[in-house]
């Protein structure tokens, strides 16, 4: 039996738009960067010690923008505090937990930054004058202890904060996937793999973001030689492993659906081979997944020289950043294009200048980088002594 196109009259256009694509993307950048920053602190990955602070501040820079697309998307943005004041824990609503979880995570991240930088701030405060001095004073929250004991305590506390922060980040990003995955009305979203896919793709985007901007920052400041080869190799392997896993899970989801060939697959296939064929198969899978996966696999081999890694790794990272964006788009928008009537496709064409349009989305992805640059003026990103010590150790 063949059906012709029909969409319920209220569903002609997509409601969860670009803002809902951008929001998990920003959240993912925070999680991925935080993950890289924590690896050396919690798991003792010494080769990542040089990038730890960079990644931590990178995460901090994206943090204030997490809720902006969500609030901008609300029909009544002025009522957004209702989410915190009257959360629905009765039925319970998954979304209601977001406010609490995110606030908790933000507090942990900010506290961690303060503890990691406490000792350095004391030195910086003593060296600076005027506004900067009072800023450091404020960030120090009145502490002035430079003893070895206090520094040890800083490390212990930041390690503890990281250890709690990682599962919190996982929960927050997994939750995002869970919110979509449990909407049984949506054929594309409704899979238990959604939280896993969302969490790991979040890590992929965050790690790729850190790698790209780390190498860019070094290249711009003409300090490429400062990057330890071992750091590059470790980052390559982490990115490759994370992405290979994420990609595999996504493909397993599709493959099992296709093989089972239920009515659900007929509908999803009509979407993937119809309106999403270019953005899904061509862009997300063929170009932005398979190519960087091969490149990263080759780069992970020991035989590849440092010079090649320095060129190919940021390119692969950039492609994966785009891949995750396409994945978010294909999931969030694609799921709604596949209409509830099971008989047709809704449409969505974002405009450049609308409230939730392309320009605002672009700004939301650029402003964190600007903030990151500003933060780098306050938070030193490089631990010069330590880097030099490691370079003598690892540079080949």
């Amino acid at each position: 039996m063949q059906d012709m196109g029909y969409v319920f009259p209220n569903d002609l256009h997509v409601h969860w738009n670009l803002m809902v694509v951008v929001y998990p993307y920003i959240l993912g950048m925070v999680a991925g960067a935080f993950f890289i920053s924590s690896l050396s602190r919690v798991f003792g990955a010494i080769s990542l010690a040089g990038i730890s602070k960079f990644a931590l501040i990178f995460a901090l820079a994206w943090l204030p923008f997490v809720t902006v697309p969500l609030i901008n998307h609300l029909g009544h943005p002025e009522r957004f505090m209702n989410m915190m004041i009257t959360p629905n824990f009765e039925t319970p609503s998954l979304m209601a937990g977001f406010g609490v979880l995110f606030t908790l995570y933000a507090v942990f991240l900010i506290l961690e930054v303060l503890f990691v930088y406490r000792y350095e701030f004391i030195t910086l405060r003593n060296r600076s004058t005027g506004f900067k001095k009072s800023l450091y004073n404020a960030l120090l929250l009145g502490t002035n202890d430079t003893s070895a004991q206090s520094r040890k305590r800083d490390i212990r506390v930041s390690m503890l904060l990281s250890s709690i922060g990682i599962p919190l980040a996982a929960l927050l990003n997994g939750y995002e996937g869970f919110v979509l995955g449990t909407i049984d009305a949506n054929i594309l979203w409704n899979t238990p793999l959604m939280p896993i896919i969302f969490f790991f793709s979040a890590l992929v985007s965050g790690v790729a973001g850190v790698i790209l901007f780390y190498i860019l920052a070094k290249a711009i400041t003409n300090k490429l030689d400062d990057i330890e080869t071992e750091t590059l190799r470790t980052l390559t392997k982490i990115l490759w492993a994370l992405f290979a896993f994420t990609f595999a899970v996504q493909m397993i989801d599709i493959a099992s659906l296709a093989y089972a060939s239920t009515h659900r697959w007929d509908l999803i296939n009509s979407l993937l081979s119809g309106p999403l064929s270019f953005s899904y198969w061509t862009m997300q899978v063929m170009i932005l997944s398979i190519i960087p996966a091969i490149v990263l696999a080759i780069l992970s081999l020991r035989i590849v020289s440092r010079k090649i890694i320095l060129i190919a790794l940021p390119v692969a990272a950039l492609m994966l950043l785009a891949e995750v964006f396409f994945m978010r788009w294909n999931t969030v928008i694609g799921g709604q294009i596949l209409a509830n009537s099971d008989r047709g496709f809704a449409t969505y064409h974002p405009l450049m200048f609308e409230k939730e349009g392309i320009l605002v989305s672009a700004l939301l992805l650029i402003l964190p980088i600007v903030l990151f640059w500003l933060l780098s003026k306050i938070f030193p990103l490089w631990d010069t002594d330590r880097i030099k010590r490691h370079i003598t150790h690892y540079k080949r």
Partner: protein
């Protein structure tokens, strides 16, 4: 004797008058969509009080007889008028199903069926074997995913089973719009909050029928209390009539029942 003749004459005149008025009015009802005076007509209608106004123990249910719907669109006009629904958005709509001899199903609902289906579809080449109309509205689920997911309980189920929205509290995050598998929710373009069919809760609370039920010329839309054994819905519910709900596999437990529905209806 003369008096009696006068009475008979008057009665005859009255009778003829009633026949003419009734015929013209009835024909117009069937031929053209409801006029803008419908609202007045609804509020002054005498056929209300079919619903006990203050009865929290009632088990309200809505039934749609698919074979009874003629696709006139009166229900949609009445609903828009009653609930100030913005143009282009729908609390209720009527779908037209057409099936050709090759079993291809054609569904459409131009303007939500609000202007009636006076013209046949011209884009179908094969011979048509059957056609029918399916009114859609809130399924008023007993286990509604829209209520479950609302982050701030702005949408909730009343003690008497109506799923409604607190428009003063709703932030319009759109989760309920996503969660409703029936596509009956939307973000109202004017109020900027989630909106949906309420089975005219405000009318039912006053003992009136929902506006669409009141406006339906064929009785295809039925509303009543299942606990009231004398109500039409209760009688149908307890009869051998086959009742179906939409998308039962999703577990939302709708209380909107379809009589004589078809498997093609989603």
């Amino acid at each position: 004797m003369r008096v009696n003749q006068e009475l008979i004459d008057r009665d005859r005149r009255g009778f003829i008058q009633s026949v003419v008025t009734g015929s013209v009015g009835g024909s117009l009802m069937l031929m053209i969509p409801m006029s803008s005076s419908l609202g007045k007509e609804l509020s002054s209608s005498s056929s209300e009080a079919k619903v006990n106004p203050i009865n929290l123990d009632a088990n309200y249910c809505f039934m749609v007889d698919v074979t009874g719907c003629i696709g006139c669109g009166n229900c949609c006009v009445a609903d828009r008028k009653e609930n100030n629904v913005p143009e282009g958005q729908y609390r209720t709509w009527v779908e037209r199903y057409v099936i050709d001899i090759y079993n291809t199903v054609y569904v459409d609902a131009p303007d939500g069926g609000e202007k009636g289906y006076s013209e046949p579809r011209t884009d179908i080449e094969a011979t048509i074997k059957e056609a029918f109309f399916v009114p859609k509205l809130c399924n008023m689920c007993e286990d509604p995913s829209c209520v479950q997911g609302c982050p701030i309980s702005a949408t909730f189920t009343t003690p008497d089973g109506f799923v409604i929205v607190d428009s003063d509290h709703c932030v319009a995050c759109g989760y309920c719009v996503m969660a409703c598998p029936y596509g009956v929710r939307f973000i109202n373009e004017e109020t900027k909050v989630a909106d949906k069919c309420t089975w005219c809760y405000h009318r039912v609370r006053k003992g009136k029928l929902p506006a669409c039920v009141q406006a339906c010329p064929t009785g295809a839309r039925k509303f009543g209390d299942l606990n009231d054994l004398e109500s039409e819905v209760s009688k149908i519910y307890r009869s051998a009539e086959r009742l179906e709900v939409l998308k039962p596999e999703l577990g939302n437990e709708p209380t909107l029942y379809y009589i004589n529905s078809r498997e093609e209806v989603v």
